[in-house]
């Protein structure tokens, strides 16, 4: 580990002569050049890595298919292909959501993610409740919080009916920091 090779070095008194200030200048210049060149490389690298540290484009309108799939008075699972996806996403870009058809023309569309910690909530037709399998959050049929740890009701998509199809505005996983109402 210890370095036994020794090189001839200038003693302290020699360091004060003119030659050494010249040497000092070139040393500073050398360090400076490396700092500049290093930053030049670091900026694009950091830009590449941190490129996702920005809010992505706002939500987009996504079709859930013909309105007829959601008869009045039912709450059904619908799925859509996330508008932002990559060719290698496989099934992970297929996103489910709960569609509640109030009377066939008025709807409520809820994110699958529990507002507590994001687990997938399940609809129970008989007791008209959404239950979360993780920590037992429960929501009423209109998405409002019924009981358990969730700090709020289910995340709800904005929707519209156009050309006989039901559309929702989304495209990202909803969180407390960015609920679907921000879409």
């Amino acid at each position: 580990m210890s370095d036994t090779t020794s090189y001839p070095t200038k003693t302290g008194s020699e360091c004060c002569c003119k030659g050494s200030s010249r040497r000092g200048f070139f040393l500073t210049l050398g360090v400076g050049l490396n700092v500049v060149a290093g930053s030049l490389l670091a900026v694009p690298i950091l830009g590449y890595v941190l490129s996702s540290f920005r809010r992505q484009a706002p939500g987009q309108w996504i079709s859930l298919g013909p309105v007829g799939q959601f008869p009045s008075g039912t709450t059904r699972l619908a799925t859509y292909r996330n508008p932002v996806h990559r060719p290698w996403d496989g099934k992970t870009a297929d996103i489910p959501c709960w569609v509640r058809s109030i009377d066939g023309s008025k709807f409520q569309v809820f994110a699958i993610n529990c507002a507590h910690l994001g687990c997938p909530v399940r609809w129970f037709e008989q007791s008209r409740l959404f239950l979360c399998p993780c920590h037992g959050g429960a929501y009423y049929e209109d998405g409002s919080r019924a009981s358990g740890p969730p700090p709020r009701g289910l995340f709800e998509y904005a929707y519209k009916v156009e050309k006989g199809a039901l559309w929702v505005k989304g495209g990202f996983i909803p969180t407390l920091a960015r609920p679907l109402s921000d879409a």
Binding site: S52, F53, Q56, L117, G118, V121, Q126, P151, L176, R178
Partner: protein, 486 residues
Amino acid sequence: MLRQLQQIAQWFDDRLHLTKLFASTAGHRVPKSSGSWFYVFGSGTMLCLMLQLVTGTCLAFVYVPSADEAYTTLEYLTYEQPLGWYLRALHYWGSNFMLGIMSLHMAQVFLFGAYKYPRELTWITGVLLLFVTLGLAFTGQVMRFDQDAYWGLGIGTAIMGRVPVIGADLVNLMLAGPIIAGETLSRFFTLHVFILPGTILALIGVHLRLVLTKGINEYPKPGVPVQRETYVEEYEKLVEKEGVAFVPGAISKDLYFSAFVMFAIATCAAVFGPKGPEGVPDPTYIQTAPQPDFFFLWVYSVAALLPPYTETVVLLVGPAVGVLALLALPFISNTGEKSARRRPVAVLTVLVAFLGLGLLTWAGLTSPWSPHMQAWTSDPTPAAFVKGRSPLELQGALVLQNKQCRNCHALDGVGGHRGPDLSTVATRLTRDQLVRQVIQGGGNMPAYGKNLSPAEVDALVAFMMTLHPANELPARDATLSARRSP
């Protein structure tokens, strides 16, 4: 011949300075007292890391970190690749052992006061190593890209989304996009395979260098406190007087322990096999009840047991306080007694920490707060609860089953445990209280007023009024009976 071999060895030694390297590292002098069974956990942890590097590299030969194909390659690894299941099992059990032995190591250096002057940095790098290892454990859980991994990422996302101001940006940074998908897995793969292992090796370099420069902690004696003025001198004297070379003087117990750990990992891997993969990570398949891996179960429990209004603060501030406390420890308690025999608070701290983590983990394993999503269709009503009941009461038993009450309420211990077991509910609540509880809910129960007809409530409550032991009367309204009695 022997002479020639010796010459070759000397030639290499002359070029590589191996003898000197050995003398200043493995052969450095340590206090004889450090050759103790309590001192084997550090080398045990490092052994696990080496094993993880080897098995992890082997898995990377086959594994494809693509959201589309990771699951297929995991199944291929587990069922088709020769010995693939065993390598997966070794990597999984290696990680469990690494975290376990690391915890023991940490408890030991804490109880032996090894973090005190002049070994503050040794402790701090150790704390950083703990966090990097936890990072490896979490990202490793994501590599097993199944339903648990997908929803585990969902939980991470939800926690990130609670950070004020930059929460939404952090979610994007963590997922590398708006949803949990292909780029998320690539990101976690890079962390798990390049960034975190690189960091851990660098930190171990510093950690071990500090063990060499500042020496390993001597077995502490009660009544011999650390004093900044004299400690280093005394330690040097001790090492000089009764020190031994670590190799071969003090390493034998480490060797026994290493062999034991390897046997144990090999055995666990062979007997219990790898974990999962459990279910294609298809978010549209929602019949799933995600659970984190063993070492994060306690976090899962904390998230369930905290009062909701404290949750964001505890989930975000709690870890920060924990990290700061661990990093500040060597400066808060820099000198003084080292021996656990004179440090009751330290002993208590370790006991409370291990008991707390243990109990929370156990709670996570049983997770009584999770509803049993299939209980209402799969758990039969015990025969004793329907025998001899009136038609109205039987109708109530059906309501209890059909309205998913069983998902949270057990009958005779069978069913969900989120709410109280209803086997003897009539002894606790009067008829009116039962009606009120069903209709209005409260105390963590949803209100069923809108979803039950008056007839259904009547039947349900009539059934619940029968739920009391034969020799115990149902609860009565004390004020009513008082008025009637005279």
